[in-house]
Each structure stands twice: as C-alpha cells, then as structure tokens.
Amino acid sequence: MNGYTDINSITDPTDFKSTRVPKLFEVDSLLRCHICKEFLSSPMLTHCGHTFCSGCIRRYLLNTPKCPICSKELRESNLCRNVVLEQLVISYKGLRKELLEKVQIQEEPKNVPQVTESLVIENAPVASTTPKPEVIYLDEEDSAFDDSIDEDLTILLESKKRKQTVSIDSILKRPKPPLQRKITTESGTCPICSKVFPIEILMGRHIDECLAVPKPSSNYASNSTYTNSHTSLGKAKSPSTEDQSYYQPKESNTVQQKLTKLDYSSLSTTQLKSKLSKLELPTNGTRNELETRYNEFLILWNANCDSVQPKNPKLLRSQLAKWESAIKVKANGTEKLGKAGWSDLIRQARSTMKSKD
C-alpha cells in the first residue's frame, strides 16, 4: 500500500444518509470499530459485550485496563475472537460500493444491459457497477493505515489494486491473476471448494462432482460455515476463478504464536535489540524508539494472530515502518494558518450572527 490517502477515499456511515435507504447508516456504523471508526478488523468481543478491532483494543489496554465504552475492568485475557462478525464485515465491505450505488436516489434501479456492462468493465473499471474483485481482501496489507476495502471509491483504488496484486503475488507465491479480466457472467462460489464457476456449471454438475472428490485437507471443510455467494448473497458476479480463490476467508494453517509483553525495567538495550532483530525488526534509534517499536509490533502481530486471514509477517513489518514514519511526520509537522475556505466559513457565520441580532 502506498500509505497515501485522499480525503475522498475515506468512507463513513453518513454516505448512506441521503440514499433511498438511510437506515443503512446504522448497519454501516455497527460494523465499525468505536476506536478507529474503520470497519472492524479482527473483531474481539469483550466480556462486557463490546467489540473492537483486535489491534485497537490491545493498544488501548496497554495503558488503561478498562473497556473504552463502559469502563468495566478489562484485560487482554478477557478478549475473545468473533469470527462470524469478522466474516460478516468482510462480506459487507465487498458489497458496500455496489450497495451504495444501488440505493442512490438519482440512479435507475435497473442495470445496464449485459453487453454494455462487460465493455465498461474492460475499458473503464472504475465506472462499472460490478462488485470489486474480491482479490482486494488479501491485498489489505495494512488496514491500520489504509482501510482499502471500505474506500472502494476511485481510480486511486484501481491503481492501488494493480500494484498490490503484484506485490502480494510475489509474497504469497500464488499464481498471478490475468491482467485482463474475463467478461463477467453470472457466477457463484462453490461452498465446498470455494472456487467460482458460471452459475449453470456450478448448479448443473460441479457441486455434485465436488462433493464426490475427497479433499486433501480438512481446511476447506472447516470453512463451510462461511456460506458463500450462491447461498447467502444470491448469485455473485466474479471476474475470474483465480481471483476468487484469493479471498476465501480461511483459517490459516500456520498457528502463529502470540508475542508477549516485555518487562523493560529488567531488559538491557542490548537484550532489547536482540529481541527486535530476532523479529527481523530494525534496531536503530533511541531506547524509547526501540520500546515503542516493540510495543507497536506486539500489537500488530497479536492482532494478526486473531484474524481469519492472517497477513504475511513481511506486511506487518512494512506496516510498522509506515506507522513509525507517520509518527515522525506528525512530530515534524508544521502548522499552517487558515485556508481560504475556512475563513469564508467564519465570515459567513459572523454575518449570520449579525443578521440575527
């Protein structure tokens, strides 16, 4: 991820306020974290019934052992993964853009004819109403910085997506998806093997065939709770089989060990550096920077362990590097006085006040 954000790429629940279904505002709000206001990422349920992103709540609990909502005493050991909610969020994020388009007041509910649509996809993906190729889910290299999924808005995203597909490919060593997307036909996802097929094939013969073939790993079976497009969401349109295989939420095979907090008072700087280098993290900077770095990595790492789609540790390291650079930007940030639009606003408010007088 580039780490650069355009104000237009940030979504919030008010996007639904002036649509035909303003109540979607509530749904959109409920799937977000109260701390970061982004869609919940690895949601954790507290024993008091509240839910936050794993990273957000762990970061908060470092200093305050209380629930940020109800102030009940809370420790990391009281947190519990909420897998269904995580899958719901992933599913919602994937359809949010399309949903928003469908409920816009000025828009015709009827879709453009099939032929036109496929042309649009090939030539101007941004303008198309086709759901985002869900490949973006695994591309979500750093939700803490760039919540790519909910900002499905613009050209920005299209370009980002291409870039990421490449970088993720090399990291995960998966086959590269075809650059040119296939013409979109009605297709659905098989609940057994999670692959995408044209709907006639899927319903016609595939599911039966698929059920007959014994699976090499039990991994797929354990996913069957994630009911895919053709059962829960109706027919999904998907750009290609390759793409679809990327985002199947699945429990990772590798069980990652959570990192533990360090007792800095009994740790020399040399020992701390060796801890960092074992984690393949940089060892430069002041003692304070080293501790801050370890603490943030601890949060990123442990939150990643809570995810149904854990990211490659390399991505966590780059996320950490971006976090550090964002902190530095803030520290060096200079304050500029009033932009034109702002002073206009003030003038306007003053004159309203005067006229009231």
Binding site: G3, Y4, T5, D6, I7, I10, D12, P13, T14, K17, H34, I35, C36, K37, E38, C56, R59, Y60, N63, T64, K66, P68, I69, C70, S71, A144, F145, D146, D147, K322, W323, S325, A326, I327, V329, K330, A331, G333, T334, E335, K336, L337, G338, K339, W342, L345, I346, A349, R350, M353, K354, K356, D357
Partner: protein, 167 residues
Amino acid sequence: MPPKGTAQRRLLKEYQQLTKDAPEGIVAGPVSEDNLFVWDCLLEGPEGTPYENGVFPARLVFPSDYPLSPPKLTFTPAILHPNIYANGEVCISILHPPGEDPNQYERAEERWSPVQNVEKILLSVMSMLSEPNVESGANIDACKLWRDDRKAFEEQVRSDVRKSLGL
C-alpha cells in the same frame, strides 16, 4: 500529502462526518490539509444564555496518539466562563482520561475514551456554556462572579460578545 496514520485517518473521517452531518451551531475542521492535528472550531452561543448571538472561535489540538488521548480545546480569544481557564483552555471531564481528571468526583463515563469524538466534545462544550459547573471551576474569578453576582457576570459576557462581533 504525508502518509496517514491511524490518527489522521480517524480525524479525516470525523471531519467528513461533521461536514455532512454537523450539529446545529457547530463548525469544525482542520486548519490545513497538511496538518490534521490542529482544527479550528466555531461555536454559536446557546440561546437563552448570555453567550447567545456570540460566535466563539476555538482551537482543537490533537495528540499523535489520538484517539487514545484526548485533544486540547482552547478558546481564542479566551471567554469568560467558570470552566475556561484565563488562557482560554477548556476544562471539562470529557477532555480528561479516567484517572487524570483533576475533578475527582466526576464519573468515568463522562471522561475521555477513544469512543468519544470531536462532535461529543463540542456538544459537551455547548452544554457547558449553558450550565457552568462551578464546583470544578477552572477560572476562580469567573466562578466567584457567577456565584456572587450573576447579573454582572452576564453583563460582562454580553459585552464581550458584542465586542467580538465588532458591533
């Protein structure tokens, strides 16, 4: 634009939400696109109070670990109020995290936590303007005046309001 961290993204979201759906009498937004950590705010004085008809500029300064820590809110220039320090800084419980509140008796739910936001702060400030809390005053002189000579207090505020509007 500089890279955006969690704090910046959240500030952008709050700004976006406030522009679309701001409570009445409140305008707030970042001073510049390069620095989302400093906001200018304008608050209209609540009706039925001596602050009525006033438009009060204030500045919000956010810490780099926002929303873990609360921002600081300062009226520029300062306004006469029991809960506003002489330098303009606002002292209300929502701006203090639990444990750091100088006013020990305040309930934890009213304190700062990351689930609070700019809108809630500014709404609290509006209600603070309507109902000063003299038991946990920040400006002793204003507290005394408010308690002992309400008329003089209100007259002083009204006169400040007129001056601030250049009337």
